[in-house]
């Protein structure tokens, strides 16, 4: 048989898992200890680095979209991590401000720091750039893009409610994995209201250059929203079959099938 080292190099190509690392006694080789340390450092930084809301606003403005900054009731990162309930509540003044700006729209888009500002910095504007033309094709009216700091997913319910939008899509930094500190999640909720449950949302996850590309994520979001608006539902009862539409090369989402009850 061939050299075990060659076999391990080949096996390691079959999975992103850290296999065939070798060992020094019972421990890891030095390079693997250092590699793990660097990856953990990057994931930690992604959690604690503050979101640059101004830079995001100007990047989104370049796409021709207006923005409004808001904050949750979590005053800082340390509180945010301990008190998920505060991250779901909108600052009362911001709620009134959004209500004042509200016009009846189809979709409110929220860019939220969540657990990785890095994910938002790297992926939010490119995702919106890919999505905006699809929304325009469908003739959807978009509310100004809300940039929310110290935010959890459910903050979008209050935002969508205040803006009187038919649906809300929250683009949020996901909990960073050791090998994916830059992953963006998208949560779509129809008829946003305070108190919606997670079972009423559809999720598109792992949006990043090395994961689900911006173009594919935009396609999925467009497909799901079209379905949600037509069927009048979102969440576990709305199954994501956009992959089939993507494979068949459909440019626009297929017409909804008759409901099976």
């Amino acid at each position: 048989m061939s050299d075990p080292r060659e076999i391990w190099a080949r096996l390691a190509g079959l999975t992103p898992a850290r296999i065939g690392l070798g060992r020094a006694g019972s421990g890891l080789p030095t390079r693997e200890v250092l590699r793990f340390g660097l990856d953990h450092a990057q994931a930690r930084d992604a959690v604690h680095a503050p979101m640059d809301a101004e830079a995001l606003a100007s990047a989104i403005a370049e796409l021709g979209l207006a923005t409004i900054p808001v904050a949750s009731q979590a005053p800082d990162r340390a509180t945010y991590l301990r008190r998920p309930d505060l991250g779901r509540r909108l600052d009362p003044e911001d709620f009134l401000g959004l209500q004042a700006a509200a016009e009846s729209t189809d979709l409110a888009l929220v860019v939220a720091d969540g657990l990785s500002a890095r994910a938002v910095h790297e992926n939010a504007a490119p995702l919106l750039k890919a999505f905006a033309p699809l929304a325009e094709q469908s003739g959807w009216r978009l509310a100004p893009v809300v940039i929310a700091s110290q935010a959890r997913v459910a903050l979008g319910d209050a935002i969508g409610d205040a803006l009187k939008a038919r649906a809300v899509a929250v683009l949020i930094g996901e909990r960073p994995g050791l090998s994916s500190p830059d992953s963006l999640g998208i949560y779509l909720t129809l008829d946003p209201k305070i108190g919606r449950s997670d079972a009423e949302r559809n999720c598109i996850s792992n949006v990043r250059t090395a994961g689900l590309t911006h173009a594919k994520a935009a396609f999925k979001l467009h497909w799901l929203l079209a379905r949600a608006l037509t069927l009048g539902l979102s969440g576990v009862t709305l199954k994501d079959e956009s992959d089939r539409a993507l494979e068949s090369g459909a440019a626009a989402p297929a017409l909804p099938e008759p409901s099976r009850g």
Partner: protein, 459 residues
Amino acid sequence: MAYRHVVGPRTHVFADLATLMAKATPVRSGDRLAGIAAESAEENAAARWCLAEVPLAEILARPLIPYEQDDVTRLILDTHDAASFAEIAHLTVGDFREFLLTATPDGLTRIAPGVTPEIAAAVSKIMRNQDLISVARKARVVTRFRNTIGLPGTLAVRLQPNHPTDDPKGITAAILDGLTLGCGDAVIGINPASDSVQALGDLLQLLDGVIQTHAIPTQACVLTHVTTTLAAMERGLPVDLVFQSIAGTEKANAGFGVTLALLKEAHEAALALKRGPLGDNCMYFETGQGSALSADAHHGIDQQTLEARAYAVARPFRPLLVNTVVGFIGPEYLYDGKEIIRAGLEDHFCGKLMGVPLGVDVCYTNHAEADQDDMDTLLTLLGAAGCTYIMGVPGADDVMLNYQSTSFHDSLYLREVLGLKRAPEFEAWLHGIGLTDEGGALLPGSGAPLLTAAPDLAA
């Protein structure tokens, strides 16, 4: 009935037993989030004084959740072993701590069926980490399926070869990595990315093929919802162990989509398959502090007590394996390394005291204030405490679930410093194929004997 404790000029009053237990718990973020934690260090200490004076018989007589409201309470009381309890019935919580520190292993085995989760949780709250370790170390819980798990001086490892898209080649490569590093005696257990029965079937066939072809004395499990595993058994797929996540209240279990009746149905179906040549322990449960609060099903009870109640759910099913996934849920429940370490030791202690074969997923997420050094500390303490098993994840990085657990290498470290052996049948298999010496230490050679013996796996 209210409880009182006087400290100098101040009288601390605790409205009821649930409040007293919550206030006596070493402080952690999840109980703060629920608004039930002690509000000062003195209140925390006063509650422990007060709790130490509560008779065990009183804890048994005052269910934290009423019998009529919760099927876990009914299970605890209906299956309580009064004969075993008789030996400790006269003790207070404080006396019970001293009883445990002096007890023999046989004594702990004798009282286990009489220990309710509330009693285990109460005494743990007045114990230091060293107490939790020394008592748990004496408790013996041995289970069997294709090998023998939990013998004194042994530590087993779950080989966890997860892959983000369930790719069979990627999973096989990770299994090979784990086996060549001497891991996999607790179970080879996959968390699948997909929850379809078809995907489950493919993974079950893969695991069964590996185990049968190479006559590995271990068992397989795909950790999917119990209803999916039931469907797999109906289709005749090879199911060794039935897995389910469970919690300590009826409502929290409903949040997981399970009832006690459903667990019973699955247990009976797995027993009927008779796949375990050495024993019929065929259930695998996972738990973790904070799951009831996150499901809004905590009834104002602290998360550590609720966690012990989850072991009461597991106990009647005589599981092969039960593990707490201690740091997975995040910093809103266990904030930092200190809280995770304490919780891991408490969970392990409570499980063992109740006669449940407790292992621990020593783990953390990247938004918790914890790192590899904290995990090394907890891992080493659990090794000293006689933990039944730990996880083995390639390089400690789970690329499917996005969290950090313990690695294959971590188990080698623990065996080396504490002299811990594997399940004897698995130890013999590793030696038989030439991976280890007679003492169980890995031989040099990057796993060449297994790569040679199993060319299909390395293909």
